[in-house]
């Protein structure tokens, strides 16, 4: 492998830092990530004391070659998609920092933290569909 591209360099740094100091309940399979540096699977536990306590989720991060200037595509994958007003049943997450408010100073770590926070602040489990009906 020749010298890594800037986005790969940054992803490697982020991986090291996420391994070293992950947000609570977050873990990543580093060996799998090294196979495909632009596709991360991140495990996330529902925070204690919230509606999602005891649940396990899986997040998929997909990075383009323009990362960190382009935001990563982040979706919930697997068989347990959280029921949340801002999460579609196909796993799509409605979160401004993943689209318009993305900034290259954000990281996998901070996105994970935002998603944990988004889930934790939920008062009532309701899907996007039921919100639309109201």
């Amino acid at each position: 492998m020749a010298s890594p591209s800037p986005s790969e360099r940054r992803l490697q740094k982020e991986l090291s830092s996420l391994m070293k100091d992950p947000p609570p309940g977050v873990s990543v399979d580093a060996n799998a990530v090294y196979q495909h540096l632009n596709l991360w699977n991140v495990h996330m536990k529902g925070a204690d004391g919230t509606l999602y306590q005891g649940e396990d989720f899986q997040l998929q991060f997909r990075f383009s070659s323009k990362y960190p200037f382009d935001s990563p595509e982040v979706t919930f994958v697997g068989d347990n998609i959280p029921i949340h007003p801002h999460v579609y049943s196909n796993g799509h997450i409605c979160l401004s920092i993943l689209t318009d408010d993305w900034s290259p100073a954000l990281s996998v770590q901070s996105v994970c933290l935002s998603i944990i926070s988004m889930l934790s602040s939920c008062k009532e489990k309701a899907s996007t569909l039921s919100i639309e009906k109201h």
């Binding site: 010298s3 740094k13 991986l15 070293k20 060996n31 200037f69 900034s103 290259p104 954000l106």
Partner: protein, 186 residues
């Protein structure tokens, strides 16, 4: 610089090894000067008015990415090419990869140092007050220097002192005559 360990990661070395060797032994002070975008030590460093450090190539690319929404990546305050300050350390950045295709970072702005005495040109301080006014062919500075004989400083303006009082009085007379002629002669 932590350039070598990242290439090693393409083999099977575990990232935990990587982070231990790399993160802990790396001097902690380095992290202070990491670019907020590429997370490397900032090269061609610039700093925003809000105080956030970037490589100029990184920041430039970000500003190009969203040309109509130029915000600091860290704090989202307004940011522009004109308002970033380049940082010039002592160490050169030659050994790093040449990232061409990027316009050079904005240059620093130099202000002249403030000197103690305001005007150096007009010598109000020394005794000889020299003003040169001329209308047409009449050099009225002679008139003024003629008025000035009470306060001549012998150290400077030797030339005027050498003229002698007689000549200056003649010129004084001529000047007054001219003024009277201009006022009453009509």
């Amino acid at each position: 610089m932590n350039r070598k360990p990242t290439t090693a990661s393409s083999s099977n070395s575990l990232p935990t090894d990587n982070s231990k060797n790399n993160g802990d032994e790396k001097d902690k002070g380095d992290q202070m000067f990491e670019c907020n975008i590429c997370l490397d030590t900032a090269k061609d460093a610039v700093i925003s008015m809000c105080g956030h450090l970037f490589c100029w190539p990184c920041l430039h690319q970000w500003l190009e990415t969203r040309p109509n929404k130029k915000l600091c990546p860290v704090c989202k305050s307004g940011i522009s090419k004109e308002k970033v300050i380049p940082l010039y350390g002592r160490g050169s950045t030659n050994q790093e990869d040449p990232r061409n295709k990027v316009p050079p970072r904005p240059s620093g702005q130099r202000a002249e140092a403030e000197t103690g005495s305001g005007f150096g040109g007009f010598g109000f301080g020394d005794g000889s007050f020299q003003v040169s006014i001329g209308i047409g062919a009449f050099p009225f500075n002679l008139l003024v220097s003629a008025f000035n004989f009470t306060s001549h400083n012998p150290s400077d303006n030797q030339v005027e002192n050498d003229r002698g009082p007689v000549i200056s009085k003649i010129f004084l007379f001529l000047a007054f005559a001219l003024v009277f002629w201009m006022i009453f002669g009509l």
